[in-house]
Symmetry: D2
Subunit: 109 residues, 4 copies
């Protein structure tokens, strides 16, 4: 967990120097995360699948990570654990024999 | 970087068991990330700022992390580095003396 | 149906003068609509519920309508009809006696 | 304007029978619009550009229109007018001679 924690510490430092924790309620953090993910997506608008600007992608992906880390931190979530838990759930929803080579959503499998 | 890498390895293992890499072009990964961030946001619809279901938040945030990790991995990005780089850029856009206690967007500061 | 049609005609004229129909596949139109809806949402980030810039809201809402009209037009959809059909479906999912004064999602009612 | 008004009247009737106006603050309406636009977009995830379910598209597009109409109605906006105003602004940002056959964003033209 060391890496996540070190990075979150940097983000919190940036936030606290600006006294921004007061704005960071859970609803607005989720809203900010969604807005940043949409800005990343916009890089692909009217473009082919691999036709994008890598430097802009880095910037937007970093924003997504920052808000995702802030939401995890605000709720004392162990990122490693929640991702592993979700992989287990997904393994039940998408058993290998049904899902292999198939992008169909689980409720239509 | 150890933790990020260990976690990404688990996600890749899940993906490859299902032969899903073929669907994971950059545009659709960005689309999936945006859809998952929106599902997280939906938990707050018609609700007060801190009124949400923590178990659902964990699930949706894990989905966001998974697609963010997959995008980072596909582009060989060093998550630690891109986040630190973005914090530096943000520090220029939001200097402490102007931004302190102020949620105004940088282009309106 | 007159008004929708007149407005869609103006949007199509703008599009065709720029020879943009070639970019307007269904997936990118849906992507554009989502990006514009997210830009409208961003006006409310870190803000109270009614604290927004009305001129910016007009601009972003107009963008949302333009892409929604283009999607309807591309698929020959009767906007009046699809909205009335959806209201009927919603009336089944949210019967007045259960839904009155209650913002709970239908699958949790 | 007759058609827009007739349709908005039906949406308001549905809303008021359920006493839902109390939940419809501007921020949550914008949030709902964004969530619905994202659900429409999800129909295209891992799919080719024209590979989608038309019935689901109708449902999701109807949801987008409903929230867009509710936002227009709450702010007494003339949909016809705001769209025409935006087309004029876009015509300045995207002059025909520069934008013809070109999907580049205006700030990069």
């Amino acid at each position: 967990m060391e890496d996540f924690k070190a990075l979150i510490k940097e983000i919190i430092k940036f936030r606290d120097e600006r006294d921004w924790e007061q704005f960071h309620n859970s609803k607005d953090l989720a809203l900010a995360l969604s807005v940043e993910a949409s800005e990343l997506l916009e890089l692909f608008l009217w473009k082919n699948n691999e036709d994008f600007n890598l430097n802009k992608l880095k910037d937007e992906l970093a924003d997504v990570f920052m808000y995702a880390f802030l939401i995890a931190n605000k709720n004392d979530l162990d990122i490693h654990q929640i991702v592993l838990d979700k992989i287990k759930k997904n393994a039940d929803k998408y058993p290998v024999d049904k899902a292999k080579g198939n992008s169909t959503k689980y409720n239509e499998l």
